[in-house]
Symmetry: C2
Subunit: 210 residues, 2 copies
């Protein structure tokens, strides 16, 4: 039996969800609330398996509710529920440990499946939300910037620079003279179009050369 708490300000929807879920085998709505004002106490008292959390609520909204719960309980599965698949909220919710993100237009049968999935450690998402997540994800990691065409040796030197080594230390680390280190670094600066150590370090991070 999956124990559920519901947070949803719209009375019709709150009742509808409660009826639907209670009417299904294996699901039990412990309680439902129109706001998150006492969410921490309620979660601690009822110890639900899954929380259905509406995002757009007056007063303490769903994201805040999520955060409050996560401050005291990292086990309960939290499914965010919303009418919009908008970027900002998705990101917020994920960052704060939501276990799923589904749209209110989800058909009842699917909703039950989603709850069950969440309870067993899955991360149910409406497909459109998943699309947003993938987009955010790939845009974050595909910057890859120009190649700059650094040689292996140059990459090694840059790596050490980034790690905070001085020329002297690099020379001793790589078994070459400090003048050679200078040569390499001069070349690196040319290739990266910079003219100082810290600019090179910054660029190395920004363009994920290291």
């Amino acid at each position: 039996m999956i124990k559920i708490l519901i947070y949803e300000d719209n009375p019709q929807l709150r009742e509808g969800l409660t009826m639907l879920i209670n009417g299904s085998d294996g699901f039990d709505v412990l309680a439902s609330y129109p706001n998150c004002n006492n969410v921490v106490d309620e979660v601690q008292a009822f110890k639900p398996d899954v929380v259905l959390m509406d995002i757009d609520m007056p007063g303490v909204n769903g994201i805040e509710g999520l955060k409050k719960i996560r401050e005291v309980n990292t086990d309960v599965k939290i499914l965010m529920l919303t009418v919009f698949d908008d970027n900002k909220n998705i990101f917020q919710a994920i960052s704060h440990g939501a276990n799923g993100y589904i749209l209110k237009k989800t058909p009842p049968a699917r909703l039950l499946e989603y709850i069950a999935e969440a309870q067993t450690g899955g991360a149910p998402m409406t497909a459109s939300v998943a699309t947003q997540v993938l987009k955010m994800f790939s845009s974050m990691n595909n910057e890859k910037g120009e190649d700059y065409n650094l040689s292996e040796r140059e990459k090694h030197v840059l790596q050490l620079l980034v790690d905070g080594y001085s020329y002297k230390m690099i020379a001793s680390e790589m078994f070459i003279s400090i003048d050679t280190v200078r040569s390499h670094i001069k070349k690196i600066y040319e290739k990266l179009h910079v003219n100082s150590k810290s600019e090179a370090v910054a660029k190395a991070f920004k363009d994920k050369i290291v």
Copy 2:
């Protein structure tokens, strides 16, 4: 009618998938192949709506196949198909523009739903895969590292350092003397536990101070 190409080296599974999908209304398998050797030509010739791409194939594997397709076609929806929900492959696939990532143990009915979802712009994922994605996502953004307790002024100086400014330039940018810049920077080094500009810059990136 959703037009589909299948890449799957296991003959039984390849045949099974083809039969299943062709036997369903609204789905049409144009062709199926045991490897990705000519994936680019095939995709360009058939212009499918959706490609089912097995990851673990001899020769050119599914990730490589994905990359090759994306080099010439960014519209076709590509569903990755695998037995493992392992971290590395998921990450690779997402970064290179896969539209979904589903496990082979997915029941046939679900598979058809997934294909349809992908075709309409969704991003179907097996729940366990979605869990991995969310974990990667939140771990990437919640590092936030210690606070270091930098004052506003110090943060500003650090910001300019990261942007490659010299002390002189910072002084003129902030309308203070170069000696004051020195003071600030000394303090910053103490707080960050570093002792050079580039270490500070590196730390600023690593700990997302900027």
